[in-house]
Symmetry: C2
Subunit: 229 residues, 2 copies
């Protein structure tokens, strides 16, 4: 995991929390997933939580008719799969977009970490709180905005998150999401996304092609996004 991303992680072995390390917590916990592979799927009873250490992954839900909604694009440092009650079915799927490295935590491991350091509970609450806010914000844009604003919001949000992870957003960035991934995240079709992308490109706001992303006008992008940043 990029060192900048550590501050987003819930618990990072090898950092200042080192003294808390316990063998059991990390046993079998580091794992690699290839593009297209699943960490877990919606409906699974899956008593593990994960920190994404490297790579990009998408979290999504499916309607009964098969329609897919991407509810989160996971970046290094993101904490996934946590549930207060791990005997419940998980409510979303996680699929690797690029090669991903995850660090897994068992419920027992989490329990023992929490007992040793009460501040980790606060941290866990903060993470939930942030995810909550982010989801409401996305819902607002998906529910109310026009296609162009939705695209702008999606890209502006991702760019902001990448910047906080230490990337220079003035540069051309690696961007592994497909048209369909993006479209499913904002509730439009890939075909229409393509048309909107051309508009944004012609307006010299942002260019997003061939798995590369180049932001040309950040203020314009954020303004189009309609959301409060």
């Amino acid at each position: 995991m990029d060192c900048e991303a550590r501050k987003f992680a819930w618990f990072e072995p090898g950092s200042a929390d080192e003294l808390l390390s316990q063998r059991q917590v990390y046993r079998n916990s580091q794992s690699i997933y290839e593009p297209g592979e699943y960490l877990f799927a919606e409906g699974d009873v899956h008593p593990m939580a994960y920190t994404l250490k490297e790579g990009w992954a998408i979290c999504y839900k499916q309607l009964l008719d098969g329609q897919r909604q991407v509810v989160h694009v996971a970046l290094p440092g993101d904490f996934l799969g946590y549930q207060t009650d791990f005997s419940e079915r998980i409510d979303y799927s996680v699929m690797a977009v690029t090669e991903c490295k995850f660090c897994g935590f068992t419920p027992a491991g989490i329990e023992s970490l929490l007992e040793k350091d009460l501040s980790l509970i606060k941290r866990l609450m903060e993470i939930q709180n942030k995810q909550n806010k982010s989801c409401k914000r996305t819902l607002s844009v998906v529910g109310q905005a026009q296609a162009k604003s939705k695209v702008a919001y999606f890209l502006a949000d991702l760019v902001e998150r990448l910047e906080r992870r230490g990337l220079d957003i003035e540069e051309t960035l690696a961007f592994p999401l497909s048209r369909e991934d993006i479209a499913d995240a904002i509730g439009i079709t890939p075909v229409h996304l393509s048309r909107v992308s051309v508009e944004l490109s012609n307006a010299h706001v942002v260019e997003c092609r061939h798995n590369k992303l180049k932001v040309m006008d950040i203020p314009a992008l954020q303004h189009l996004a309609e959301a409060v940043f």
Copy 2:
């Protein structure tokens, strides 16, 4: 608050938690809001959290252009306004739809409760987790479904929540939301909502008029909703 709703509340004075009661926590904490009045508004620094004890309220966000997205319809027992960091601005507004009675908690009050009973932290996490799941589910429907499914989802979800609060959903239920409230919750216009309502009514699925709700065919309603219930 209806006694059935207590099990949804985070902390209910007068219940088994009674011994925890502290004067400071409840000072000035019971308050009544008339329809249209605000508990707090998006952007406020508002260091209080609340349990809704009686009435209906809507939680919403606004885009920069003024568009409104209702992110939650609050019913008795719901816990609102909690933030891990109360110095941050709150990310949504809460407006009373009917006359509402709220029970308020100060950050200091919450802190002292948590210190006395660690299980309350678990409870708080559960609440956050539930809100999270609910938001993702709503996002999926708002992002992917057709208008008719959106309406069905919205009503099916509310009916389920009312039922868990002890109401008999076979009966005609009080339903104080306006067309606009519903429309803003699912991302369609009130005009179109009106047309869809007629369809659902003609199909003998659900009737929702004059602040009354009558579900005629629950299975059909849930099937239309497309979401996993």
